[in-house]
């Protein structure tokens, strides 16, 4: 913190010195030009007036020159940020709109990613997840999957020859691990448990 203050002070001092030197430099220029013109026979007022005219805008020159010398990339970035903050304050409707779209955009992206991450990228929280399949009931002529009736499931399990074991899931909501465990199927154990099916 102290070092920072020291740096800032040194910078300010340097800026001030540069400023006063530039002032002196430009004053000298105008005076010299006026002198040159007086030597050529112009009246003092005319000489001063023409010197200024030849020079252009003094204030603008100072500003541009100062920028050349004193502004580092960091200064300019700080300036830009301050300017942005000022503009945001000045234009609250735009700010609100920008913030809202940013919020929605980031929120939606995060939500979609967390779904993709848990559904597609992360393996299921069970042992041998690649051995796990889901079996549905599809009544003929409906073309969509149906909820499996309890008795049907029990029959499937009793006559099962294809799977090591079968279990039914009451409710599927497996986005977060904690909830997955809470709703996990009876007989299913999470990866940390000893077995998938206790039955």
């Amino acid at each position: 913190m102290r070092l920072w203050h020291k740096l800032v002070w040194r910078k300010l001092a340097r800026h001030a010195r540069e400023d006063s030197e530039l002032d002196e430099e430009l004053r000298f220029h105008l005076q010299e030009e006026a002198q040159l013109r007086m030597d050529r026979g112009q009246s003092p007022e005319d000489a001063r007036r023409w010197a200024r005219r030849d020079f252009g805008n003094v204030t603008r020159t100072k500003e541009v020159t100062r920028e050349m010398w004193t502004f580092s990339a960091l200064d300019r970035a700080a300036q830009d940020i301050r300017y942005a903050a000022r503009m945001f304050r000045k234009n609250p409707a735009f700010t609100a709109l920008a913030l809202a779209s940013l919020t929605l955009g980031i929120g939606a992206t995060t939500a979609i990613f967390s779904v993709v991450n848990s559904v597609l990228l992360r393996p299921l929280p069970f042992r041998d997840p690649d051995q796990l399949v889901m079996v549905w009931e599809r009544p003929p002529e409906t073309g969509h999957n149906n909820v499996v009736q309890t008795q049907n499931f029990l029959d499937w399990r009793a006559r099962n020859r294809s799977f090591e074991n079968m279990a039914a899931v009451f409710q599927i909501s497996t986005i977060s691990k904690a909830r997955a465990r809470r709703y996990s199927c009876p007989g299913c154990a999470s990866r940390r448990g000893s077995s998938i099916f206790s039955a």
Partner: protein
Amino acid sequence: MDRIELLQGTLDMLILRTLQWGAQHGHGIGVAIRASSEDALQVEHGSLYPALHRLRKQGLIDAEWKLTENKQRARYYRLTAKGRKMLVAEESRWNRMVEAIGRVMRPAEK
């Protein structure tokens, strides 16, 4: 006589060229450019200073406060070794450009 606006980016080269004859202050540079172009080039003297300070920051020229013949304090600029090299490079670039543009504008004379 009509005055010509300076081409973008040529002021730096003119300044370096003027400083080839020795250290000079801002006003002296302006006067020298005006005189050696026989008043044809319109250089707003104010525009010299941003250019001078930029060249200084780039290390192409050095600045030093000295007394003039009339015992006044003035900031004198002089070429650095880097500036001298830059001047040579800029000059040859300029010559090539003038030649190329000339060929386009007056193809029949070639």
